[in-house]
Amino acid sequence: MKKILFASLLMLAALSASAQERKELHILSANDMHAAIECFPRLGFIADSLRALYPNLLILSGGDNRSGDPLNDMYEIPAYPMVTLMNMVGFHATAVGNHEFDSAQKGLAKLISLSTFSTLCANMEPDPKFNMHVKPYQIFDCGGISVGIIGITALGTMGLPESHPARMTDIKFFDPLETIKKYQFLREKCDVVLLLSHLGFDDDVKFSAELPWIDIIVGGHSHTQVKGGEDHNGVFITQNENRLKRVTHTTLVVENGKVVSRKAENIAVRGEMNENKVIREVVRYFSENPAFKRVLATADAPFSSYEELGCMMADAYVAEGKGDLSFQNAGGVRYDTHEAGGFTVADVLRLDPFQNEAVELNITGKELSEMLIKCYENDQKRFPYVGGMTAEYTIDPKTYDLKKLVLYGTDGKKLNLKKTYKVISNSYSVAVSPTNRKDEGQNTGIITAELIMKYLEHQGHVNYQGRTCLKEIKK
């Protein structure tokens, strides 16, 4: 009888110990927020609510926190609003997205120094001169669960993240998969191993086959809307579309140092009710940034047509994009008058509000002519404004079909159709001008509004009164 009682007590004790070791890890993850500061009051509310239920909530970003809203990206310290808001929401760590490099080396180092969360990226090594505090991994204690998080970023065709190469000088990058494998020791040290990835969904799935020791990949980069989470090769993968449409709340059950169950749900952020009011006030403060009233140049005479403003934009692309020629789709010039006097940052952002990036093409005069014709056809039969040249085009007055196009250089001579020119345009114009050309172009990673701002600042005074770059003949 005594033996039976003793055995029962032992079993009870064992059961009780096992129950004590069953713990839940809660993760709130976002990715590719792209400066959606307007969504932070709602994100703050979601984080507060979950934290009230789960005090050890881990909040993570899969990278690309910036680049998407001038209120953030053109702040005095670029991207400072996002860092402040992420600090307020209580983020613990972020991956490094390719757009984090849009801040360039010193800018990124500055942002990291202002962050209360960790910046994790195992496959980059900045030169010490930048004082950039990027860690390859970090172990977090979440209510007794040790969580090892490795950060990783995608490399593009040039072996660099997709941003302007000049912004990554003196930063070394390494193969993502081989790098991750070096951190397998975390499996022994941690209850949960998490890959905070800016690789994109396809690579997350591909890599999962070789990384069975990882429990979960919190992803980003491809803007893939995963419903909750998906199991691929035994690894749980989450990701959301961009700009905080949704975030993911993941629950991992850990027993005896091992993840035994995983589930995730998407939570809608954009356009939803309930906000953190303190964060709302901070967003309002950032939205009323007086820096947007800064005068870049003085317009010595008023602008009084779309063409005058379009010519100015096209000139800016040539001057600041260091090109020979340029073009700007007519539909992308958003107002037709500007009075004489100060031309401000806000004026430029109203003129060119689309966040289009400048694209560089090395194409012949003939290939350029073909692109301009396509652009005309696909931009509601409006001829694009041009820089570094003038365009004389003949259209049918009834059908508006383009019948003839002649391009002239600034010297008044016809453009050499065989010569290769460096042409700068915006990403929209290039996309709506598909032709069979040798060079499809290269995104410079610089938004065209930024080129216009630089141009105005460098000019100091501008006068485009009566300026034309197009001559239309109806015949």
Partner: protein, 69 residues
């Protein structure tokens, strides 16, 4: 950079977004580019993706219109 949009091969500039691949597709097909914002865009797995997604991340995409053209 090449990718497939509704099975058609499309070539776009390096660093393009899904939006630009769709714009090129619409331009080739002579479709009204204003329809772009109404599309549901799916990756090869059937996940929804947004127009700002990097084109380099998607070998093939397809889109659905909310109604028949």
């Amino acid at each position: 950079m090449k990718l497939k949009v509704n099975r058609k091969n499309i070539e776009v500039f390096e660093g393009a977004q899904v939006r630009h691949a769709l714009l090129s597709y619409f331009a080739w097909k002579g479709l009204d580019v204003r329809l772009l914002e109404q599309l549901t865009v799916l990756d090869r797995w059937g996940h929804e993706i947004d127009l700002d997604a990097p084109a380099s991340q998607h070998e093939m995409i397809k889109f659905k219109l909310p109604y028949k053209l």
